[in-house]
């Protein structure tokens, strides 16, 4: 079987500090499990956790109908077409992103896989009547790593307005600290080994209906009215299981 010689299998080496890595298996076990008939599912379009008009007036129902209903749906459908019946089937979405990124020489399916993941996170990060000052667990770390919530917002907005062309802006855990990053087109911080907590889509299709060319206004509306700090804190909590964000507290014996 050509599958056995496929270079993909040889890449399932243990990766260092990779929180999303697959369980490491011996090569024999990998090959045996690939030979057995697999039940695989294709990817589905995840609904945003709110009605399509719930984010008005900051993000209109019309935008959601196109952005989620056409663009995001298109990425899912096209990804499924690209992976059905070949060796890319059967991975989780995060595994698929890593595999198709192919260490910087991306395969055609990378774009769709990453965009599906990015949009899933984007809808999750928003809520009706959200936004404003951060709350919860993350507050202490925003203040530690940015100085203040307002500094964080400034840096986030600056990144969003200086991302030339299409892309995304992220709040991530990177090197044990919170940081703001920006990426081009479909790229996301998973491929750099960082842990994304919050994202905003700065592809023009994300804001053109509501804000036309005014990207800065869109980002302000997002920060002030849409960010779900509950969702961000949930991700942050999970991230703490995989990254040390502060010096360990060693109890006195």
């Amino acid at each position: 079987m050509a599958l056995l010689q496929h270079s993909l299998l040889l890449q399932h080496r243990p990766l260092h500090t990779n929180i999303f890595r697959t369980k490491t298996k011996t090569r024999g076990a990998m090959l045996r499990s690939r030979m057995a008939p697999l039940t695989v599912a294709l990817f589905g379009l995840k609904e945003p956790p709110y009605k399509l008009d719930a984010l008005e007036p900051f993000m209109s129902r019309r935008t959601l109908e196109f952005h989620w209903g056409k663009h995001h749906r298109g990425y899912v459908d096209n990804l499924n077409k690209q992976i059905e019946g070949n060796e890319l089937e059967g991975f989780t979405l995060e595994e698929l992103i890593k595999v198709t990124y192919n260490n910087g020489n991306p395969m055609p399916a990378f774009n769709n896989a990453a965009q599906v993941w990015n949009h899933d996170l984007f809808w999750e990060c928003m809520e009706p009547e959200g936004g404003g000052d951060c709350t919860g667990m993350i507050q202490e770390f925003i203040e530690r790593d940015f100085g203040s919530y307002n500094n964080f917002v400034e840096e986030f907005k600056q990144a969003a307005t200086t991302q030339f062309g299409s892309g995304w802006v992220w709040l991530v855990v990177k090197d044990s600290k919170l940081a703001v990053e920006k990426s081009t087109n479909a790229l996301n911080p998973l491929i750099w080994g960082h842990i994304p907590l919050l994202t905003i889509d700065v592809w023009e299709h994300g804001y053109y209906i509501d804000y036309q060319n005014r990207r800065a206004d869109y980002v302000s509306a997002f920060m002030d009215n849409l960010v779900s700090w509950d969702a961000v804190n949930a991700r942050f909590g999970r991230a703490q299981a995989f990254a040390n964000l502060r010096e360990p507290i060693i109890p006195e014996l």
Binding site: F66, K70, H71, G74, N111, F164, G165, S166, G167, T184, N185, A186, W203, E204, H205, Y208, I209, Q212, N213
Partner: protein, 229 residues
Amino acid sequence: MAMVAFVGKKVGGIGVAFRRGCQCRKIQSFSLPELPYEYSALEPVISGEIMSLHHQKHHQAYVTNYNKALEQLEEASAKRNAEAIVSLQSAIKFNGGGHINHSIFWKNLTPVKEGGGEPPKGALAKAIDTQFGSLNAVIEKMNAGGAALQGSGWVWLGLNKDLKSLMVETTQNQDPLLTKGLLPLLGIDVWEHAYYLQYKNVRPDYLKNIWKVMNWKYAEEIFEKEVNP
């Protein structure tokens, strides 16, 4: 009738400005070129709303930021700040490229009643037939390239000046075609702002329709000037 609002002179106007301290210097200041037709003139292919936003907001922003970056470059050069000079390059390429590309784009389009959509004639038509087989073939190729482009960019019909050969190429973001060593004959903006309000996510429909207002005469002129100087 849409108002054609514009700022001042044609492209490449050189302004004379007085700096603090009254030193008279020639500062290169670029300005937004006029559109050779009304905003609504390309309807129903491209709506007046898109044309007005595209010209007055997007292109103007490129011009404004290009001038700003060039000013900063002058200051950095005067202070011999090597790091600042290098770090300004991406803003110059992006905004300058945006200005160059859009200046060509407005001339690439023309209303139907002024010949928009009429197929090319003369030397360019012959070259297209020889090198691509037919006009439809080159249009197909450009549409395919434009539709497949990830993110933001342009699809071009360009001329390799040395080989005198036509090429279909794409560029990312606002990279001008000269970065690929080709002279632009026709360019199609496939940034989402160029079509979203009308065509939404269906970029292929925009690409199919834009040929109805394509100004092949402009491409013929550029081609003939290069090939028969």
